[in-house]
Structure formats: structure tokens, C-alpha cells
Symmetry: C2
Subunit: 530 residues, 2 copies
């Protein structure tokens, strides 16, 4: 049985299936919640496919955005709304986040990190609510949305407010997300089971194989993150929603379908529910030819090339770090394509070329590509998985350290630390993933896992979006656990009752035995006495 | 968005997909474990599809079987083995089981039922081990199997021994099953999460909506069934396996992929795992024309027909019950097709015709069919779901009462009791599901749910069977929970540790406070004394 011949045929069959589906999909009217950065990058291919299939896609777009631009040519309809803060305020905050995550955190105590983190989460929440003002508290926007007669709202829940908007519009809601802090929303709102004994909490840097102390840490981490989220997210949002609705509201924050942007090639196998669909790698596609950088890539000869980017968020790093990195890269035999917008480092080798932007997916799919140096964003990792390229991770923040731990534990990556790494660390790491065969083999294994499923990630996402429109929701996939309290869910009330009954029965039988025994003794005594 | 036009197009696309898949599947060599009755009926269509796709299918077939016959024309290769008991012994036992389930159980106390049930389970286990003697303890059979160079073993785990056989042959294993008692194997061997608060235990007759006392009963039921299974199944099988392997063995009883024969049209939504695939309705297919019974069906006019069968296991019922049923059926305006092998009842109406065998799926798919009277077997129910036919359930044993509770709770069926029902009960039940519109509507809703999924059940089953052969197992879908003990899984050790630490900290701070307080007091006293 040959996987090689299987996959292309399967793909073409899938295309046929899609063509058939296209002809049958009567255009739906889809509203898309605003999103930023990788979240927006990840939504786009699904929206493009939905438009190809005859649906109308309208995207809510804020007046202040670092990534969403209405002036770019696009097939989406845009519904603009006002954010109650300036782009400068947003950018200053993001710079602070980067500074903290990349440089300051390493020099801080746990307590300091915690205080700073809470502070940043609170500011972030203020921005989120600033966006919401322009939607939920704007009569103009809400009137337009109501008149839009949408069939569905598609949203990344990291940008809050979509659930209340869907409720007010009376339409089904689909979440698309990578993860929430400690899987808090998935667990507490989506009822996704997450036993801390083998499901590592988000941002814990743990794998599914944990020893006792790691399991203790994971357990505590879940609780700590729940407390953080309760304080900086739930309380604020409950208050805001209550204000909008004019009545006290406790958030549900749940959706008809949860499109999770991972799969078992990337994530550790875990329990899930019928309305959770794992569609990691939505944006992956076959590589296209590379006219712009073709000559440079070809000049690499047998040594091949290394692709290096720190993602769409990081534009600049300190001169010292840039020089160190450039120096390390100059010591490897491969040609390096580095996406970097800062000043050209002095130590830049002849083998390294800096680009403002690189066609990342097409480069990773090029047969000459030997390794990918990455900050560990989900989108980039998925492109590397898709094309079977081993990785060197320089993770920065949020899910990136976790993501790289996943790739390392699956044997497809080496991790180096951005702040503490020296020239030789980075150089050795790149040489290791290129020269030790196991890294390439494991990357190819992940690639095979990624492709060997009944439907591509994008087709599956599109199927469930259309499914939810067809059925006006997805009620029959919703577990009854939503109607239970936490102690009912864990059967604690039942357990308490059963234990009480058992104890009472034991007590009763002891009392009865004692009584019988006493009666017997009395009779014997009486008999003796007679 | 129109579901009506969507479904046929989707089906044709699926056929295209299958054709594409066919050309790419290099023939695998599949071994199939023996099975009986509905278990065998359900496996057949998958095996047929596998043969269509170029695989070789070899079925282990015992010398003693009520359903598997080597002399029927078939495209399967057969591998016969000897069972160490006679067909008569088997048939006598099955008759006893039917007698108990259909007539005797109603007159027994819970304790009597329990004792009788345990006794029957033990006898059943003896038969199972009697079959196993012909495989695992037969050098001839094991030699042939080893020489067969199989790529995969496909088995219904209700017939034990397949796991050890797969282990000895060193090949991957796929389970296909409806359920095990209290989901014992799925939970304890497959690590499938089953919170008793909303996942009803098998054979509990409960739904996913339970009040407090039902949750208590469900909780206790899980424990009781685990105890039963531990005594009649695990201990016996552990002993047998240890004997075969020549070393003490604790059963794993798990597989690479679990093909569960339900879906959310039939079952209640519940948590599951990446290697559990829900493929209920594998055998469903479009109805074919009905030359044999066509005239009788057509003669029903606008009233239409009712299809009635008690399944492949029940061949006979008492004259009294048969007369009662015939009398009830004679009072409805529909024509009735009754599959029955007993003596012709005296009260049989002109509208009812008895058949030795009926083309059940084709009849249920006929546009004149108004209702299905069924014993509640999974296969029959799935055919009714597929064709959107409301049901009257007369459940007998094992999963049948549960199955009918599912259909009733979804509003597509009425249940009557075989022993206590009177003529008017059955008549009214049939009239209700035919005349009250909601039953037909709900049946059609289930039919739509059943068909509206990315892939048909059979295609999905075939995909995962081929997937497992391609990948020589399905390791990356296996949760790490398999490596944990039950108290580790539930984090009880972690919880104990955390509580101890917290208590110690509290104790320490109290002691410290007390000490400080005493020191202060002492100093004050001293100060005063001075």
C-alpha cells in the first residue's frame, strides 16, 4: 500500500467533491468578526474558498487595525466600525508586549512576571472593549448588521463580543481558534474534557508525557490561569454584556461549532466532542514556482537553503542580537533567506540575503529547502509540517514556546533561546536538524500524517460552516454537559449521596449486630441465672 | 441553502471519491475475526467494499456457527477453525437466553435476574473460550494465520481473542462494535471518557438528560456492570491469555482504531477520542425495486404499508402473543408485511401478510412505507433512520431497550412492552406514529442528520481501515492516558499532594502566628514586670 500514489489521487478526488459541492451550495450570507495578525491570515483562505463556493462574505473591520486594510483589493465585502482608541495607542501597547516577552521577562522574578502579565492582559481587555464599543454600543453598526440578514457569524473568540452579537442577530456562531489560555473557554464554555494528567495546559511548555512533578505543575497551572482569566476577562466581559443587554448576564461564550486550528500531527491526542473539529493547516497549499528569488535559491547547489523568519509581528530586534544571528548564519554551508525589516547587520555573511517579505509557503515547499528557522507561530509551523521541513525554533511569546515544544517532542525540531543563545548554539542547531537524518524523517512523517485524513483541513472547515448554515445551528452535536453545574458534571453530588448511604448502611448493620449480640448475651446470662 | 438538492450531489461526489480511491488502493491482506448475527450482518458491507477496492479479505469461520456459512457463494476467502462444542449446545443456550429475556425476566426479582444473568454470562464466556481453543490453542490454525501474511485484523470485540491473535501475528487491530456492557472496554481499555453525569451506561434505558435519582442509578450501574464484567470476563480471559502466552498477562483489550457503530443521529453526543470513529449506518443503502412483494405493497393505496420484524434472532413467539399481535395489526388501515417463521396466527387480518424473509431495507425505503414495527436492533433502526421512517419498538434484550429509548427521546418512536401489551396498545402505538405528524418529521430530521456528514459511514470505515494498513497502525491517534493508572488519570495523587501542601502551609502559618503572638505577649509581660 503506497501512500505516495494515494495522496495526489485523494487530493484530486477531494477537488471533484468540492466541485460537486460548489454546484449545490446556494449562496449563504456570512458575517466575519474582525481579527488581527496570524488570526486574520488563517481565516482568509477559508473565506476565499467560501466565496469560490458562491457565498457572500462580509468582514467587520475596525477603523484601527494593524493588519486589516479596506484599501487592499479583495473579494470580501467590508463592514467598517469605529474603535474608541488610536492606532498609536495600540502600536505602543504592542511594542511594550514585545519588549516584555523578548527581553524583559528573562530578568524578572515570577511575581514580577505575574504582575506585569496581569497588567498587560487588563490593557488588552480595554482595547477589546474599545473595539466592542464600535459594534455592540453603536446603533448604526447594529442596525446595519440586523439589516444584513446574515446566516452565520464566524469569529475567532480571542476577539470577544461575537457571541453576544450572534445572539442579538439570532444567527448561529462558529468559533475558529488556536487555543485559549489554559483552554479555559474550550473547557468551561465548550465543555471540552481536558484531564490535567495528560492534557498539558496552554503555555505550560509541557507535553502529554508528564512525570509527577510536571503533573502537579500542570494541575496548578490550570487553576492559576483560570483565576487570571476570571479576573481580567470574565468579570469585565460579564459587566460589559450586562450593560449592553440591560440585564445581569453570565457569559456562555460558546458556539455551534468550534474549528480548532490544530490536528494530531501538531497537537497531542486528547479527548474532544462532536462539535469540535480539528482543522489545523487550513492555509497550507502546494508550493508555487519562485521567480523573484529563484536564482538565489538555485545558486545554493547541493547544500540547499535555509528559510528564516520571526513572523509577521516582529519587525525589529536589537543590533546585538541581529549581529549574533547573522554571524551564526554565515557559518553554515546553506544559502539563507532571512525575512527581516531592521538595519542590515554588520556580520551578515555572503550566503545570507535579507528580504522585506518572503513567499514563505512556496520556499518551504521548494525541494532545496533543508531547514526552517522560526519563531514558532502556528501558521509557519503548519507550512513546515505540510512540506516536511525540520525546524529550529526561537520562540518568543504566547503559544510559540508551546508550539516548539510540540515539534521538539515529535522529533522534528531543536529549540534555542532568543536571549541567551550564542553564535555557536544557533549554528549547531541548524546543522543538527539538517545533518541528523531523524529530524527530516520525523518532519516527513508529520507531513504524511497531516495529509493522510479523509478531507483536507480547509474542506472540513468549509463543510462545517455550510453544515451550520444548512441546519441553522448544530444542536444535535451539543453535549448535555452544558446543562450541568461543575459538581453535577463530576458527579460530586451523586458521590456524596452514595457515600452517605453506604456509611449509614454500615452504621445500621453495626448497630443491629451490636443489638443482636447484646440480646443473645442477655438471654445467655438469663439462662445461666435460671 | 437546500438540503434536498445537496444530499444526492454529495452522494454522487462521494461515489466519485470512492472510484478515485479504488484505483489507488494497492490490495491489502485483511483478516476478519468470526462474528454472529447482526454483528456479522454489519461487517459484511464493509468487507464487500474492501474487496471492491482490491483488497483480499479472509474470514475466520468456526465449525459451529448459527449464521456464518462457508457453503454460501461469497467473494471472501474462508479460514475455518474448530470450536470445541456442538451446534446443538449453542442453540440450546441461545433458546434459554431468549426465554429468559422475553418471558421469564418480567416475573423475577432483581436478585434472581442478577443471578441468572451472571450464570448466562459465564456460559457465554465458556462458548467464547471454546471458539478460542480452535484458534489460539490450535497449532494448525495459528500456523496458517502466520503464513497468511496479513496486514490487519478486523474484529468485533464482543468475540474475544482478536487482540492476542493480532499481538502474536504482529499486525494492527481494528475493533468494530456497537457497545460493550457499561462501555467497559471503551472506557477502561480504549480510555474513552464517559462521565456518568451525562453519558448513560449501556443497558440503563437512560438518556443524556438525567435528574438526580437517574444520575445516582447511572453511577451505580457503571460500578455494578464493571464488577460483573470483572468477574465473568476479565478474570477468565486473563487466565486464558496467560495460559496461551505461558506467562501471567493482564489484558489491554485495545485496538488501533475503534469503529463505533453509532452516530449522533442515534446516540447522544458524548466525549470521544481521535481513534474512535462513529460509523453508524454502515449497511444503509438506497432502496431497490421490489418485484416479489410489489403488488401487495401497491395494493395498499394511500394508507400505505407497515413493515414488521422482530429481527434475525427471534424465529418464534408464543401462540398467545402471536394472536394478540395479529389481532392488533388487523385493526389498522395499512397493509402489513410481517416477517415471521412461526405458525400462522388464527387472528391474522386480511391486511397482513406473513413472510419468511423480507427485503427490509428496500421496504423501508419504499415511498408507501408509513411505519416500522421493530424489536429495536441497531441495524434495523439505522435503516429506518436512513429512510426517515417512524418506529414502534417492541424491544427484547441486550441493547434493544436502550436503542428504542434513544429513538423515543428523539421523538421518532413509541415503545410498547412485549409481555404486557394488549391489542389496543400495539394498535394505538402504530396509529400514533403514523397519524401524529411529529414522528414522521423527527424521523426525517434524523435521516437528514445521518446523511449530512463529510463522508458516508461506510466510506469512513473503509478509509480508517486502509489508513491503518498504510501506516501500520495508528499510533499518533492514541492518547497518553493509556500509560496512566486510574488515580493518575483522575489526578488523585496530585490532588492529595496539593491538599497536603496547602494544609501544611496553613498549619505552619498558624503555628508561626501563635509563636509570634506568644513572643509579643511574653515581651509585653516582661516589659510590664520591669
Amino acid at each position: 500500500i503506497n501512500t505516495g500514489t494515494m495522496i495526489p489521487l485523494f487530493l484530486s478526488a477531494t477537488v471533484l467533491l468540492i466541485l460537486c459541492m460548489t454546484s449545490s451550495a446556494n449562496g449563504g450570507n456570512i458575517l466575519v468578526w474582525y481579527a488581527e495578525a496570524s488570526h486574520w491570515i488563517n481565516l482568509k483562505p477559508v473565506l476565499e474558498t467560501l466565496i469560490d463556493r458562491g457565498h457572500q462574505v462580509t468582514v467587520l473591520i475596525p477603523s484601527v487595525s494593524m493588519f486589516m486594510k479596506t484599501n487592499e483589493p479583495s473579494r470580501f465585502r467590508y463592514e467598517p466600525f469605529n474603535a474608541s482608541f488610536s492606532l498609536e495607542a495600540m502600536e505602543t501597547f504592542m511594542d511594550k508586549v514585545f519588549q516584555f516577552s523578548m527581553y524583559e521577562m528573562d530578568q524578572m522574578s515570577y511575581l514580577q512576571i505575574y504582575i506585569k502579565f496581569m497588567d498587560m492582559m487588563k490593557t488588552n481587555m480595554k482595547f477589546s472593549l474599545g473595539y466592542l464599543d464600535g459594534v455592540l454600543k453603536s446603533d448604526t453598526t447594529m442596525k446595519k448588521l440586523k439589516e444584513g440578514n446574515y446566516d452565520l457569524l464566524l469569529a475567532d473568540p480571542i476577539y470577544p463580543g461575537s457571541d453576544l452579537t450572534a445572539e442579538i442577530l439570532g444567527i448561529p456562531l462558529i468559533f475558529s481558534l488556536r487555543f485559549s489560555i489554559a483552554n479555559n473557554w474550550e473547557r468551561l464554555c465548550g465543555q471540552l474534557p481536558a484531564p490535567p494528567s495528560f492534557v498539558p495546559a496552554a503555555m505550560s511548555k509541557l507535553t502529554d508525557k508528564m512525570n509527577f512533578s510536571e503533573r502537579v505543575w500542570n494541575f496548578v497551572f490550570y487553576i492559576l490561569q483560570d483565576i487570571v482569566l476570571d479576573n481580567v476577562f470574565w468579570k469585565e466581559l460579564d459587566k460589559y454584556y450586562s450593560e449592553v443587554k440591560g440585564e445581569s448576564t453570565l457569559l456562555q461564550y460558546t458556539a455551534d461549532i468550534w474549528l480548532m486550528r490544530t490536528y494530531w500531527d501538531f497537537d497531542f491526542p486528547r479527548p474532544f466532542l462532536p462539535n469540535f473539529k480539528f482543522v489545523g493547516g487550513i492555509h497550507c497549499r502546494l508550493a508555487k514556482p519562485l521567480p523573484e528569488v529563484g536564482a538565489f535559491v538555485q545558486s545554493s547547489g547541493n547544500d540547499g537553503i535555509v528559510v528564516f523568519t520571526l513572523g509577521s509581528m516582529i519587525k525589529n530586534i536589537t543590533t546585538e542580537r541581529a549581529n549574533m544571528i547573522a554571524s551564526a548564519l554565515s557559518q553554515i554551508p546553506q544559502k539563507v533567506l532571512w525575512r527581516y525589516r531592521g538595519e542590515k547587520p554588520k556580520t551578515l555573511g555572503a550566503n545570507t540575503r535579507i528580504f522585506d517579505w518572503i513567499p514563505q509557503n512556496d520556499l518551504l515547499g521548494h525541494p532545496k529547502t533543508r531547514a526552517f528557522i522560526t519563531h514558532g507561530g502556528t501558521n509557519g509551523i503548519y507550512e513546515a509540517i505540510y512540506h516536511g521541513v525540520p525546524m529550529v525554533g526561537i520562540p518568543m511569546f504566547v503559544d510559540q514556546p508551546d508550539n516548539m515544544v510540540h515539534m521538539k517532542s515529535k522529533g522534528a525540531a531543536v529549540i534555542v533561546d532568543f536571549n541567551s543563545m550564542k553564535t555557536e548554539d544557533l549554528r549547531d542547531a541548524v546543522n543538527t536538524v539538517i545533518n541528523e537524518k531523524s529530524y527530516k524523517e520525523n518532519a516527513m512523517r508529520l507531513s504524511s500524517m497531516h495529509r493522510d485524513r479523509p478531507m483536507s483541513a480547509r474542506d472540513e472547515a468549509v463543510f462545517w460552516i455550510e453544515f451550520t448554515m444548512r441546519n441553522k445551528g448544530a444542536k444535535h452535536l451539543r453535549v448535555q454537559a452544558h446543562e450541568l453545574t461543575w459538581y453535577q458534571y463530576h458527579s460530586l453530588d451523586v458521590l456524596g449521596f452514595v457515600i452517605t448511604v453506604v456509611l449509614l448502611l454500615i452504621l445500621l448493620s453495626i448497630k443491629t449486630c451490636k443489638y443482636c449480640f447484646r440480646m443473645c448475651c442477655n438471654r445467655k446470662r438469663k439462662t445461666k441465672a435460671e
